[in-house]
């Protein structure tokens, strides 16, 4: 299976419609997908901060907003230094579309129902992105510095996934 198909399959777990049209991802496309994935989680965290009244969910959302913004800042300075222009592609468009649907669903909820749905979404979303990172984005990256940043991102997002799984036990 090509890397792209693996990525599409990984994203399809929760995004369903996410697939790309090219046979191999380029570094500018990988950078765009990674940045988009980070920005989606920052936006989800902002929504949670506006809606939740649960202190633990708030702490988690603050961490997500800060960590993902920090990684994206590093990614931006890296692509600038490498003179790489992130390139929009079908996979990042699919992620954005699915995120918009998730946001619409979450906006309708409040209280404990929102907290549960937000945390469940965070678990599923991080799992999807981690699978994409390990099966497609990291193996597909050509530039060593981009690959290293994606590897740090995978370690971070894996820790976030575990964190969210523990949090889910307390927001039942």
């Amino acid at each position: 299976m090509s890397r792209l198909l693996v990525l599409a399959a990984a994203l399809a777990i929760t995004t369903g419609a996410a697939f790309a049209h090219d046979s191999q991802l380029s570094d500018p496309q990988i950078a765009h997908i990674a940045y988009t994935a980070g920005q989606i989680d920052v936006d989800a965290a902002k929504l949670a901060l506006a809606k939740t009244k649960n202190a633990e969910v708030r702490d988690f959302a603050e961490l997500m907003a800060r960590d993902h913004a920090a990684v994206n800042e590093k990614a931006l300075s890296l692509v600038k230094r490498l003179n790489v222009k992130p390139e929009a592609n079908g996979t990042s468009a699919g992620l954005t579309k699915q995120a918009a649907q998730a946001e619409k669903r979450l906006r309708k909820l409040s209280g404990a129902a929102f907290d549960r749905a937000y945390v469940a979404n965070e678990i599923a979303y991080h799992r999807t992105v981690n699978q994409a990172l390990s099966t497609a984005l990291i193996p597909g990256a050509h530039n060593g510095e981009l690959k290293a940043l994606l590897e740090s991102g995978l370690a971070l997002f894996t820790a976030h996934q575990t964190h969210a799984e523990h949090l889910a036990q307390t927001v039942k």
Binding site: L149, S152, T158
Partner: protein, 111 residues
């Protein structure tokens, strides 16, 4: 034969040397380093004594802390920075990152 005061002085010198060998002066405080990379504390240094310092080197793109659970130190580590603390308490110290609950380590501090 040497006069008595000299002999006494020599004996005192020898005695002092023996005492110095048996009980060496307190070693100078040492500096140690711990690397933080990919959401993990690297290996903890051995032979850390009270008064020594530890440099915490954060290689991750996100902010961490090196925090002693017993509150004896709490070092804020913004992304890609280093921070230093002095070790003040002997014993086994549990170390955590206040932001990332999966990051833990154990530091053994000698008196």
């Amino acid at each position: 034969m040497a006069p008595l005061p000299s002999r006494r002085s020599a004996l005192l010198t020898i005695g002092g040397t023996i005492i110095a060998l048996v009980r060496p002066a307190r070693a100078e405080p040492r500096s140690h380093a711990v690397l933080i990379d990919k959401m993990k504390f690297g290996p903890m240094p051995s032979e850390v004594r009270v008064g020594d310092s530890i440099s915490w080197i954060n290689r991750d793109p996100v902010r961490h802390t090196a925090t002693a659970r017993d509150k004896s130190f709490d070092v804020d580590l913004p992304a890609s920075t280093e921070g230093r603390c002095t070790v003040t308490r002997a014993g086994a110290v549990d170390i955590i990152c206040r932001f990332h609950p999966g990051m833990t380590a154990k530091l053994a501090v000698l008196p």
